[in-house]
């Protein structure tokens, strides 16, 4: 019955507020201590907000909601985020997302 996605799908929502590509950052679950990449969280949403859950214990590690006031981010379910210097850095590709408009 559940239709969750992977943390990969948060990339667009988080590109608004982070300069670095955050979905390959490592995140540690506060509840059970499991360290995974953000892309490996189980993501529910997008409405009323995104809820990223720990693949180990299902507790929420991260929550994001977009409201007219802005983007609400709750990282209270995590103890830390690691942005590795070894993170895959695309050769020739933009590692930070941009908003592009398609022209005809």
């Amino acid at each position: 019955m559940t239709e969750h996605r992977d943390g990969n799908s948060l990339a667009g929502a988080l590109a608004d507020i982070f300069a670095a590509e955050i979905t390959s950052a490592q995140v540690q679950c506060r509840a059970c201590g499991l360290a995974t990449t953000l892309a490996q969280l189980l993501v529910y949403g997008p409405e009323p907000g995104y809820v990223g859950r720990c693949p180990g214990c299902a507790e929420h590690v991260l929550r994001v909601a977009k409201t007219p006031a802005g983007t609400w981010l709750d990282l209270g379910g995590s103890t830390s985020l690691l942005f590795s210097t070894m993170a895959p850095s695309p050769t020739g590709a933009a590692s930070s997302a941009r908003t592009g408009r398609v022209s005809s």
Binding site: Y44, G45, E47, P48, G49, H60, T67, A69, R101
Partner: protein
């Protein structure tokens, strides 16, 4: 403001006098999920009323089924803008569950299986305004809509009608719940469009 996509129409067609501002009608019953659907078998289900951490009363499934139930027909409004009119439910009025409870609490934190929470003023749960519902459309309430049982408080946005309800905790402070800590309104009146904090 933004670029309109040629030919794209929103699905907010039907309007109706009975709709609060900014809402549109839907025939379906969309499922929004913030986590996995908890699997709570009826024989493991129980529901509690607590006050300051102390259990005042609790019911197992059979005990709950033995309580006086009501048939309810109400309109429901989701903060994601869909509304459904004349939805039918069966459940127990919260008035009956809280009858004769002596408390100084002014608020309630509804808690669910799976960890969800939402905060409400106690008076909004009383006087025939809220139920613990276990049937929808004449059938057992399906798990994706909150079964075995959910809170039904139709005069507020539907996120207040906690699915998979486990307890009503009487509390003195209006401590925000799951969505209320992430930008959503503490009260959530659809007629005043109280969707987000500050509305």
């Amino acid at each position: 403001m933004v670029n309109v996509t040629r030919g794209f129409r929103s699905r907010r067609f039907a309007t109706d006098d009975r709709l609060p501002p900014g809402q549109y009608l839907t025939d379906g019953f969309p499922v929004l999920s913030a986590g996995p659907t908890p699997a709570v078998p009826q024989d493991e289900w129980s529901f509690m009323v607590r006050n300051g951490g102390q259990v005042l009363r609790s019911w197992a499934w059979d005990e709950f089924m033995a309580l006086d139930a009501q048939d309810i027909t109400v309109d429901i409004h989701c903060v994601t803008r869909w509304s459904r009119l004349d939805t039918t439910w069966r459940g127990v009025a919260v008035d009956d569950l809280l009858a004769d409870v002596d408390t100084a609490a002014e608020y309630v934190l509804a808690r669910s299986y799976g960890g969800y929470t939402t905060n409400l003023p106690l008076e909004d749960l009383l006087d025939g305004k809220a139920w613990i519902a276990y049937e929808h459309d004449g059938e057992d309430l399906p798990p994706e809509h909150g079964g075995p049982a959910r809170l039904l408080i139709p005069h507020l946005y539907l996120w207040k009608s906690a699915k998979w309800i486990k307890s009503l905790d009487l509390v003195e402070d209006d401590d925000p719940g799951f969505w209320e800590t992430l930008g959503y309104h503490d009260y959530g009146d659809p007629w005043r469009e109280q969707r987000y904090q500050g509305d």
